[in-house]
């Protein structure tokens, strides 16, 4: 039997806005995934350590502080270096449209802005897992 998908939901940096992170953590859990929500105030090192230690398949980053370019680049790079497997990185939050291609270039697979139904985020993750 396949093990359930393991998802880490993380809040990088000093941003405290966690309504979205909590909603999406619940949605992943309700979809039968194993969810680890890190809580707020996470550094790149803390997030990558959690992903590695929890052997996670997916990392969901929630950023509403404007620091998305920095964290997308730093976290994706550290994951490529340290994670034993390919980790799907998705991002949500407040991003100016011109920044979306930039975070994707860093390795974020998809950006889900305000108003995205949780079903489409869960669906995106499931399709990726099936295609893997």
């Amino acid at each position: 039997m396949k093990r359930p998908l393991r998802v880490v939901v993380a809040k990088p940096g000093l941003d405290g806005h966690d309504r979205g992170a909590k909603i999406i953590a619940r949605a992943f859990r309700d979809a039968g995934m194993e969810v680890i929500y890190t809580g707020i105030f996470q550094t790149t090192e803390m997030i990558v350590r959690t992903v590695v230690e929890e052997d996670a398949d997916v990392l969901g980053l929630s950023i509403l502080s404007g620091a998305h370019l920095h964290f997308a680049e730093e976290i994706c790079k550290a994951l490529r270096e340290q994670a034993a497997r390919e980790v799907l990185v998705v991002m949500g939050g407040i991003l100016p449209p011109p920044d979306i291609p930039k975070v994707k270039a860093s390795g974020v697979a998809e950006v889900f802005g305000p108003g995205t139904p949780t079903a489409s985020i869960v669906g995106f993750v499931k399709r990726w897992a099936e295609a893997r």
Binding site: G13, L14, D15, G16, H17, D18, R19, A21, K22, I23, A25, R26, R29, V35, Y37, T38, G39, I40, T43, L64, S65, G66, A67, H70, F71, I94, L95, P96, P97, P98, G113, P114, G115, P117, T118, A119
Partner: protein, 549 residues
């Protein structure tokens, strides 16, 4: 209940006294058709004492007898980004376009007591607010702003004790006498643990710091509001109006009762406690929320706490429409949402208002967008005549019913919190966070099931297109400039004075004394925000919140 039992008595006492201090904006008011507008409308069968008269206990109809007939609310747009120079420039833009009060957002490192040259700060410098490390930054922030004429609000909480001190020092450097320093600092730490999550110390120690600032400000700046108890963030974190009322009034009650435990009288601190409410989409419920908040707070202060001064009973408020209600999809629609929400705040009787800009679901507002937001308030103030009449919805069966129900439900929830050990206890064990998370999740489910609608998001959806929008761009060199300025200050200041003031702050915290006098000495010696917050970290420790989702 209030002094007046009938309209004529109210006119001769409460209204007459108010008009002497603050005359009406116009000698006479009328509708566009020429029908005269009277100074108050009441029911034909007498006035229900729970509704009462404006400017009188229980203040259901407003804290002022004349409301906007004498003076419009303050147009106060929160702004802050980059360095102090960047934000000062935006202030001047806003004042030039008719803003009447200032309000500042600080960046995350400042909110959390880290200096800009701390490694954790660097990616966040100036991103969602202005970076402040030393008194030099506040001098630049307030440059050319006459602080005896323009009231200023600071949105800061965990490190508010430092920023309040910096504001006081800068106002006094401008020559403003103590009793003319006006303004507000948010400084409502309890909602940080339940909603906004920008906290440093454990809740009980953080509340002690809030009481320090209340005691200090009451003595040194008697017209300054040292706490703005905020439902705004609780609501935007996903709560409903009842929870917003209960958790917010509960926090206000906690600060006042802690001050009383310290030996201060309720009437020494309560008159300067102000409030900050969210305005969400349920038009009539939001109007009723303001009315219920005033009535419940008045009763809490008079009957629960025993405050005698009517100023202690008045729930004075700032309001902002819900950022969470803005959509990234079809952003022009946010202009309409904002206008209707703002009208609810006005009909609710707010003293001050921030209207959101249409582009805030994806960036700090551009100048063009923020101008529309200011103009929205000006249209409501100058064109629609909603300001010419006091509490026009009083006596509406529906609005009075909602006011009663919101008051009763909020009081029941607040009593439940008090019965289970109070606000601090209910934060430490996650009771409040759980309530908010559950309400937020239920609303999200309702949206996804299309039981609730958001136009452009789950109904009347347009094909995705690239929207033409005015980009907001931060100065790319701001982090470097800010770090350099702070490091220059560190080199040039008198180190011995900094060191001794930091020791004094620490000792005051260890002894349980008020830290503010030592903090102000530290500020004058150019100690940094980070240094002063760090010495208290050594005494109080940090806080790890229960993880609830």
């Amino acid at each position: 209940m209030g002094k007046a039992t009938d309209l004529e008595t109210w006119r001769q006492t409460t209204l007459a006294a108010s008009l002497k201090k603050m005359p009406l904006r116009k000698p006479a008011f009328s509708t566009l058709s020429g029908i005269p507008i009277d100074d108050l409308y009441t029911g034909t069968s007498g006035t229900d004492p729970r509704v009462g008269f404006p400017g009188e206990y229980p203040y259901t109809r407003g804290v002022h007898p004349t409301m906007y007939r004498a003076r419009h609310w303050t147009i106060r747009q929160v702004s802050g980004f980059g360095t102090a120079e960047n934000t000062n420039e935006r202030y001047k833009y806003l004042l030039a376009h008719g803003e009447t009060g200032l309000s500042t957002d600080f960046d995350l490192p400042t909110l959390l007591g880290y200096d800009s040259d701390h490694p954790i700060a660097v990616p966040e410098i100036g991103k969602i607010g202005v970076a402040v490390d030393t008194i030099d930054d506040v001098r630049l922030l307030m440059k050319d702003i006459p602080l005896d004429q323009v009231s200023t609000s600071y949105t800061i909480n965990a490190s508010a004790f430092v920023l309040m001190g910096m504001y006081e020092v800068v106002a006094k450097e401008q020559g403003v006498p103590d009793n003319l320093i006006t303004g507000t600092i948010q400084n409502d730490i309890l909602k940080e643990y339940t909603a906004q999550n920008e906290y440093i110390y454990p809740p009980a120690q953080a509340v002690k710091l809030v009481v320090d600032t209340m005691e200090y400000a009451a003595k040194t700046m008697p017209r300054y509001n040292p706490v703005s108890v905020s439902g705004y963030h609780i609501r935007d974190a996903g709560s409903n109006a009842i929870q917003e009322l209960a958790f917010t009034l509960g926090a206000g009650h906690c600060y006042v009762t802690e001050a009383v435990k310290r030996g201060l009288s309720a009437d020494f601190v309560a008159p300067r406690v102000s409030f900050f409410w969210n305005i969400q989409n349920d038009f009539f419920e939001e109007i009723a929320k303001f009315r219920a908040a005033r009535r419940l707070w008045a009763r809490m202060m008079r009957d629960w706490v025993g405050a005698k001064d009517p100023r202690s009973w008045m729930m004075r408020a700032h309001a902002q429409n819900s950022g969470a209600s803005l959509t990234a999809q079809q952003p022009d629609n946010n202009i309409a949402r904002t206008a209707v929400q703002a009208l609810a705040g006005i009909l609710g009787g707010t003293q001050s208002l921030h209207t959101n800009s249409k582009d805030e679901a994806f960036q700090i507002p551009s100048e063009g967008a923020i101008k529309i937001a200011v103009r929205t308030q000006q249209i409501l103030a100058l064109e629609n005549r909603v300001t010419d009449v006091v509490d026009p919805l009083a006596g509406s069966y529906y609005v009075e019913h909602l006011t009663d129900r919101l008051e009763a439900e909020a009081e029941a929830l607040l009593r439940e919190i008090l019965d289970r050990g109070g606000m601090v206890r209910s934060i430490e064990d996650g009771f409040i966070q759980r309530q908010i998370a559950d309400t937020s999740a239920a609303f999200q489910q309702a949206l996804e099931a299309k039981e609730e609608y958001v136009v452009g998001v789950n109904v009347h959806v347009d094909e995705e297109t690239d929207l033409p929008f005015e980009a907001f761009e931060l100065d790319p060199d701001l982090a470097e400039r800010q770090i350099r300025r702070t490091q220059d200050v560190r080199k040039s200041r008198r180190q011995a004075e900094v060191g001794s003031s930091l020791k004094e702050i620490k000792q005051a915290a260890i002894n349980g004394d008020n830290v503010m006098p030592a903090v102000v000495r530290g500020i004058k010696a150019q100690a940094t925000v980070g240094e002063m917050c760090d010495v208290l970290r050594e005494v109080y420790g940090g806080f790890r919140a229960p993880i609830i989702f």
